[in-house]
């Protein structure tokens, strides 16, 4: 671990020293502004490089621990991650092309967990000739919904992880058309989105594990009424001959108080379930931001069912236990009811460029939770230092009480260029 920490700090120092924009800004002519350097170019790009050292303490009492580590018994793992994110845009007269991808390099003290990977997160064409309306074709992440930690109406995208809502996600291959009525609209603001998303052997085959072939048609209608955004969704699944629908809203109640909510009714060949969310965001006079959300999903397990699941993982054969482990680890939410609270304070006690936050995700059904403390320091443009401590709390046979990792400490240094 010591070696990885030193390596991360060393790399961070080298990047810091070599950076043209150093920590202390030089006070030239305060009012000077050379706007020429911001003239638009046909090709523009930006990037981000980050190094992370992570220490994970394993929950050796978890029923999942012997399933995950049948032959070794590590108490903790030390990891070093190097990640490079690149985004690029070409803007020709009639078409634009966007590319976003990432490369990851990971080394770990635990056997068989080293990793090197590259991923195209998004890559799509946009027909400029249709502006202000739009047609997009390629790999795209839709990001439907208004919630921060949960998005029940995110029908046509990979699920968000409430433990890390801001983590980047991979898009899906699709075609999307957007029509904006603009001045013709009777509402303050409105738009219509039509999405076509095919799933087959060669396209989006990892989108939903149980899905072999499907053609999704999605429709989103958006309107603004006074200070309230409203979206209505309809998704048709032509192979299953089923459809999903839902809506969301977000409204400013005052100049510092926002409320939002989502409702989704999801139908598959096997089941019908509903998921909903209610949340708020509040900024106090002393720059403290509160985000509070409640989430309910009727497809989630009851407390008794999830307890039985963990008990079977303990008593089942090795192959069944591995299957259950995979099932549990793949589900971002296991039970039906969750609560999320995040409080962040901007520059407390006049500590410049420093933002601490505490996020608390609780499984209301089994009364287990995860607490995430983040200390973010941005001393200068394009540099971010972040320390994270995640802690799991819960009794036996509960979601976070049985989590493989009981504590996670991470130090992250990020440079944008």
């Amino acid at each position: 671990m010591k070696c990885y920490t030193q390596l991360a700090l060393f790399l961070g120092m080298i990047i810091l020293v070599c950076s043209p924009a150093r920590v202390v800004a030089v006070d030239n002519d305060l009012y000077s502004f050379n706007v020429e350097e911001f003239t638009k170019k046909t090709w523009e790009w930006k990037g981000e490089i980050s190094t992370t050292t992570t220490t994970k303490t394993f929950n050796t009492d978890s029923v999942l621990y012997p399933v995950k580590f049948p032959s070794q018994e590590p108490d903790q793992s030390n990891e070093f991650n190097l990640q490079l994110l690149l985004e690029s845009r070409w803007d020709w007269e009639w078409v634009r092309f966007f590319l976003a991808g990432e490369a990851n390099f990971q080394r770990s003290s635990v056997d068989d967990t080293d990793d090197e990977s590259t991923l195209l997160t998004e890559g799509y064409f946009q027909i400029s000739k249709l502006d202000p309306h739009n047609v997009e074709i390629g790999k795209r992440l839709l990001r439907w919904g208004k919630g921060y930690a949960f998005n029940p109406v995110a029908f046509l995208e990979r699920a968000k992880n409430p433990e890390d809502p801001e983590a980047s996600r991979e898009g899906l291959w699709m075609a999307q058309g957007i029509w904006i009525p603009g001045g013709f609209s009777i509402f303050g603001n409105s738009s219509v989105n039509l999405v076509y998303l095919p799933v087959g052997d060669d396209l989006n085959n990892d989108y939903q594990a149980a899905l072999e072939k499907e053609y999704f048609w999605g429709l989103k209608l958006y309107i603004l009424i006074n200070t309230t955004d409203i979206d209505m969704y309809y998704v048709q699944k032509s192979e299953q001959e089923k459809s999903d629908y839902g809506f969301d809203f977000s409204s400013n109640m005052t100049s510092s108080f926002e409320v939002h909510g989502e409702y989704a009714d999801i139908n598959t060949a096997e089941s019908n379930y509903q998921a909903n969310l209610l949340g708020l965001r509040y900024l106090t006079e002393n720059d403290v931001t509160w985000i509070v959300e409640g989430y309910h999903d009727t497809s989630g397990l009851t407390k008794e069912e999830s307890k039985a699941l963990f008990q079977s993982a303990k008593s089942s054969s090795s192959s069944t236990s591995k299957l259950l482990l995979s099932l549990i680890q793949q589900s971002n939410t296991l039970n039906q009811n969750y609560g999320y609270v995040k409080v962040s304070v901007k520059e407390p006690f006049n500590w410049l460029y420093f933002t601490p936050s505490l996020a608390w995700l609780v499984n209301i059904d089994d009364v287990s939770s995860t607490e995430n403390i983040q200390l973010v320091y941005v001393p200068t443009d394009n540099w971010t230092f972040q320390f994270t401590w995640q802690h799991m709390t819960g009794a036996a046979y509960t979601q976070y009480g049985e989590n493989l990792v009981s504590n996670k400490y991470a130090l992250d240094v990020t440079h944008n260029f």
């Binding site: 706007v35 502006d131 309306h133 001045g183 400013n252």
Partner: protein, 262 residues
């Protein structure tokens, strides 16, 4: 002789009257404009009906260190503004949209507009979102009264104080005291006051600049606050020019594509 004296007296009377008229003429002229008309004049001089501009926003901390942001902005009608971050790299691609009392923030990684409030600040510093996404003052405030004060402006004329009152509770500041240079027809400073009477910040308008095409306005807007002693924020305007825009540009679905309009 008597005639000459009468003629001389008449001339002195006429000259005196003219002098008196000239000396009070500006007041007579200002008196022709109601507070609301002054507000309309100020709005038109600060913002053409539709325009684009580049802005550098600088936050200066008590220790002298600075953080700079560069924004490309578009404005339409009285209450529609969109701003795109061009710099620093960590903020590049972010966009903020304002339509009346509604404000949204688009972050490329998040990929969808998030509703934000006027008292928050997307850049930190003393400017809040309503300052950065400044719409016409008449869209948010009613002009209540105007009076002349002793203080003199850059043109040497005595300043006029225009008192503004927020139209609703969702506006960032309850009252504004706008000090106007009557010759320049431009604000010199604005005191932003909360409903409790507390002074929240003072905004200073500096460096009147001719940007061409009939646009002449302050190129620098600076602010400080008694609530954040030692901190200062300023905005420097460049390349302001009229631009005709489609209404669809000022919609949440267009936020991810604002960059294409540069």
């Amino acid at each position: 002789m008597k005639n000459s004296v009468r003629v001389l007296a008449a001339m002195i009377t006429i000259a005196g009257s003219m002098l008196l008229l000239i000396s009070i003429f500006p007041i007579v002229l200002y008196a022709q404009q109601t507070p609301q008309e002054w507000l309309v004049t100020i709005d038109r001089n600060l913002n053409p009906p539709q325009y684009e501009s580049y802005r550098k926003l600088i936050n200066i901390e008590p220790d002298g260190s600075k953080k700079e942001f560069v924004l490309f902005s578009l404005k339409q009608d009285r209450d529609k503004v969109v701003a795109l971050f061009l710099s620093p790299s960590s903020e590049k691609g972010r966009a903020t949209l304002r339509v009346g009392d509604n404000m949204w923030l688009y972050i490329p990684n998040v990929g969808r507009p998030i509703r934000i409030t006027s008292l928050q600040s997307v850049t930190g510093g003393i400017f809040n979102n309503s300052d950065i996404l400044r719409v016409d003052y008449q869209a948010e405030y009613d002009a209540k009264a105007i009076k002349e004060v002793d203080e003199k402006g850059p043109s040497g004329s005595r300043l006029l104080q225009l008192d503004l009152k927020a139209r609703s509770g969702s506006v960032a500041y309850d009252r504004l005291e706008m000090m106007i240079d009557p010759n320049l027809k431009s604000p010199v400073k604005i005191r932003a006051i909360a409903a409790s009477g507390l002074l929240i910040k003072t905004i200073y308008f500096k460096k009147i600049t001719d940007f061409g095409q009939g646009i002449k306005r302050p190129a620098v807007v600076e602010t400080d606050s008694p609530l954040h002693k030692g901190y200062k924020s300023l905005m420097i305007f460049a390349r302001i020019k009229p631009r005709k825009l489609a209404a669809e540009v000022f919609t949440t679905d267009y936020m991810g594509r604002i960059e294409t309009l540069r």
